[in-house]
Subunit: 262 residues, 2 copies
DNA sequence: TTCTATCGGTTTATTATTTGAAATAGTGTT
DNA sequence: AACACTATTTCAAATAATAAACCGATAGAA
């Protein structure tokens, strides 16, 4: 750990519940010399990563973090980052992977990749609008969102796509409960015949599910080994997507995953 | 300038038009040794301010900037609210509007919007660091801040950007005095040719100017009607921004505005 | 008031770390 | 094979960190 890392690590002491930190407190937190801490702070202020309250003389996160975040988003929006995650997910599982973003009461595809490993694979339209009640991604969202969302979906009289679709209220509630319990949204031919999907959501800074990453494969290829691998990779992808967004994963979901043995 | 400032200044090379930068390019840009540059970069990557593309090995702004921005916004919400104000301002004036925050002796862009009404419009880089002496926003700040700020700017030998830049002390003092008198910072091609800007500051709870809202338009489109409209809308936007921040507008500025007939 | 303690900020000499330049390896391109 | 680039090493020279002391302001207690 060099000087830069030491100085930057000061920034990690800020959180939603810690907006301002004074010099003495920083000296305490970092364990370094007061003069050094002070020099770190003034350099961070000079760059704008921190700013100093003129009256309390305490330090808080500065305008530069906003400026940099603006640049990153305008140049490297969420989509590109998620695409990379999806590519990796598809590569690791040798199956079709996709990411979607919440859009009203549906999900819209954000990125996808079909693995070239298998000729028989699930194909996805980039422009597809995905219903919440009939897909793995939808169940993952419903299981980790406010209950009001589920009630809205039920009120909208979910469409039946296949004989396996959870089109009636009881079946849907049951599927959502199962997803909440396991930490994975799973759809066995609920949207299209012969397609088995597994999904996990990713989250924004309020631990609110904003989208999903998912893997879809032909039912003929489903096996305990494959689902185990897919689930493991989905957790990685879900974490990465959440991190990219600067979000946090709710503790409930982490618990569900560890209940499921991950 | 210490190590930290040197390392952080690498981040300033990113902009909307520069998403990824490689090691050799950074060495060029920073003028430092290759090994040092490399050490800087790896430390910035470790913290997450940068991330490295696994294939091109180039560096781009990392997830930490989003995380930090989220923390700052959740604890000190400003950007989202100001963005809405800027959108409205741009909509109402059919011109490019932007907001900036004080950062040391410069301003850093917080939000912007270009009106789609005109094909010929002023484009703004989100990453831009704005000098105080040459821009409408800067003059608005200088006119409503402690005189010490102006003295510091003068001591810093203001750079000349165009033939219109108030680069000498007398011209700058005059421009600031005019801004204080009228209540508006105005820059006629002081920073960029063909760009006319008008700005008003917004304030914190100590009636201290912390940022600006501004409108920029091509000089060819400037007219009494437009400047009148822009000024009216700027006052609205400045009040709204100040209110969002929980600040108060100094009586002096209110008087200047009413002197100007608003 | 005066004494004391705390906090932000600054200085100093000594000690420890970082830097720069050059040399070297690996990698992918032309 | 030559080239351009990232990555890593070496070590004398340059720079930063440390600890301790000190300043000035502020706040509370005697």
């Amino acid at each position: 750990m060099g000087t830069i890392s030491n100085a930057l690590s000061l920034l990690n002491h800020y959180s939603e519940t810690r907006a301002e930190i004074g010099l003495a407190e920083f000296k305490q937190l970092s364990g370094r010399d007061k003069a050094t801490t002070y020099r770190y702070l003034t350099e961070l202020v000079d760059f704008g990563l921190l700013e100093q309250d003129p009256v309390s003389r305490h330090y808080r996160l500065g305008p530069a973090v906003l400026r940099l975040a603006n640049v990153r988003e305008s140049v490297f929006p969420l989509r590109n980052a998620i695409q990379a995650i999806i590519d990796r997910l598809s590569e690791a599982t040798s199956e079709t992977a996709h990411a979607s973003l919440m859009q009203g009461l549906t999900l819209s595809t954000l990125a996808k990749r079909e693995s070239p490993k298998h000729a028989a694979r699930v194909s996805f339209s980039q422009s597809q609008i995905i219903p919440l009640h009939a897909t793995a991604s939808g169940l993952a969202i419903l299981a980790t969102s406010d209950d009001k969302l589920l009630e809205q979906v039920i009120k909208g009289t979910p469409e039946r796509y296949t004989v396996f679709t959870h089109a009636d209220e009881a079946a849907l509630r049951d599927a959502v409960a199962k997803a909440a319990q396991s930490g994975f949204g799973i759809s066995d031919q609920g949207y299209e015949e012969e397609v088995y999907g597994i999904a996990v959501p990713f989250f924004d800074e309020h631990a609110c599910a904003i989208g999903t990453v998912a893997v879809a494969c032909p039912t003929s290829r489903v096996s305990p080994e494959l689902t185990e691998l897919v689930k493991r990779e989905l957790i990685v992808a879900g974490r990465a997507s959440t991190k990219t967004r600067g979000g946090t994963i709710p503790a409930k979901l982490e618990e569900a995953w560890s209940r499921s043995g991950f």
